[in-house]
């Protein structure tokens, strides 16, 4: 799994807990990301730092400061662990 996909999975897990599964699915669908019944990303091709940024921006509108603060943390952790460039919205 590429680290950006891992970041996206961390975002999804966190948003499932913060916003609930239905709303998370709807927000992701609005930016072209589909999840299967178990919550896995259906089409993970092309997930890169820019896509992670796009996802965080989409959630930012719904979860506000608290939500974004808590979502950023696991994403940042994964970026550091994998020594990959941190998406700009996580800086």
């Amino acid at each position: 799994m590429n680290p950006y996909e891992e970041m996206l999975k961390a975002i999804i897990r966190r948003e499932f807990a913060l916003l609930g599964r239905n709303q998370t699915r709807e927000i992701l669908k609005s930016i072209g990301i589909e999840l299967d019944e178990k919550g896995n990303i259906v089409n993970s091709d092309g997930i890169d730092g820019r896509k992670v940024d796009e996802v965080l921006e989409a959630f930012k509108k719904h979860v506000g400061f608290v939500g974004l603060l808590v979502v950023k943390l696991p994403v940042r952790r994964i970026a550091i662990q994998n020594n990959v460039p941190v998406p700009s919205s996580v800086m």
Binding site: R13, R14, F16, A17, L18, G20, V66, G67, L69, V70
Partner: protein, 240 residues
């Protein structure tokens, strides 16, 4: 969608959840009561912002004049700022907290007697049960305590095991531990402190964990919750 409750919920013999559900927020606060004979202990009295709701909620399940004790797990405003309002309704009672918390609770202008549980044997005798207090320093406050009902084995945990969620449920759902991480990562100081304190409850018989934020963790998920928290990177880690 967050769950809504119009009345208190009985959790165990003499133990009730008495929180409110009208706020659309990820940062929800719970309160609980222990009713024992003709005495009631209110656990984490709550915010002044939601005092009216909580007062109505609690009045439905017990005679508020039976409230003798306010058990405060630490001194923050989300659990202490309603104390002066309570005193206006039922008069000064006893506020039970750690010395380090009571020093600050005094500054809410309370008139109640401040009882320092650390100087009183860490226990409270109620008519049909003994209540024990467990010291959990720096999780997140220096005088942090938990409250354990020895009759029902319910652990009232304050901020510890609390969670953040707009999708709140009274009992922890399948995603709760992730919601718990979201809160604990920021409010717990370090893995070393968390792990040292968790040893105090690892061998305790616990029927459920009732945190001040988030959802109640049922008995069959308590071990998993403790393990989850032991492995959590938190506090000082975030800024390394």
């Amino acid at each position: 969608m967050a769950e809504k409750y119009d009345s208190a919920v009985k959790l165990a013999d003499g133990n009730y959840w008495v929180g409110y559900t009208e706020a659309e927020s990820a940062f929800r606060t719970n309160a609980y009561i222990i009713e024992s004979g003709d005495e009631v202990a209110l656990i984490d009295a709550g915010s002044i912002v939601y005092f009216d709701s909580m007062f109505k909620q609690i009045s439905k399940v017990v005679d508020v004049k039976k409230i003798k004790y306010f058990i405060q797990h630490h001194q923050d405003p989300d659990l202490c700022s309603s104390l002066p309002e309570w005193e206006k309704k039922i008069g000064p009672q006893k506020i039970l907290a750690h010395t380090k918390s009571n020093i600050l609770i005094y500054h809410y202008g309370v008139k109640s007697e401040l009882v320092n549980v650390d100087l009183e044997g860490w226990e409270l005798e109620m008519p049909d049960r003994k209540i024990k207090f467990i010291f959990m320093p720096y999780m997140h406050s220096p005088g942090e305590i938990m409250t354990y009902d020895t009759k029902t084995k319910v652990l009232f945990s304050g901020d510890i095991f609390g969670g953040l969620s707009f999708d709140w449920a009274l009992y922890a759902n399948e995603d709760y531990f992730e919601a718990m991480d979201a809160f604990m990562e920021h409010y717990m100081p370090s893995k070393e402190i968390v792990n040292a304190n968790l040893k105090k409850i690892e061998n305790l018989e616990i029927s459920m964990i009732c945190p001040q934020h988030g959802s109640i963790i049922p008995g069959d998920r308590v071990k998993e919750a403790i393990e989850n928290m032991k492995n959590l990177d938190c506090g000082s880690y975030l800024y390394e």
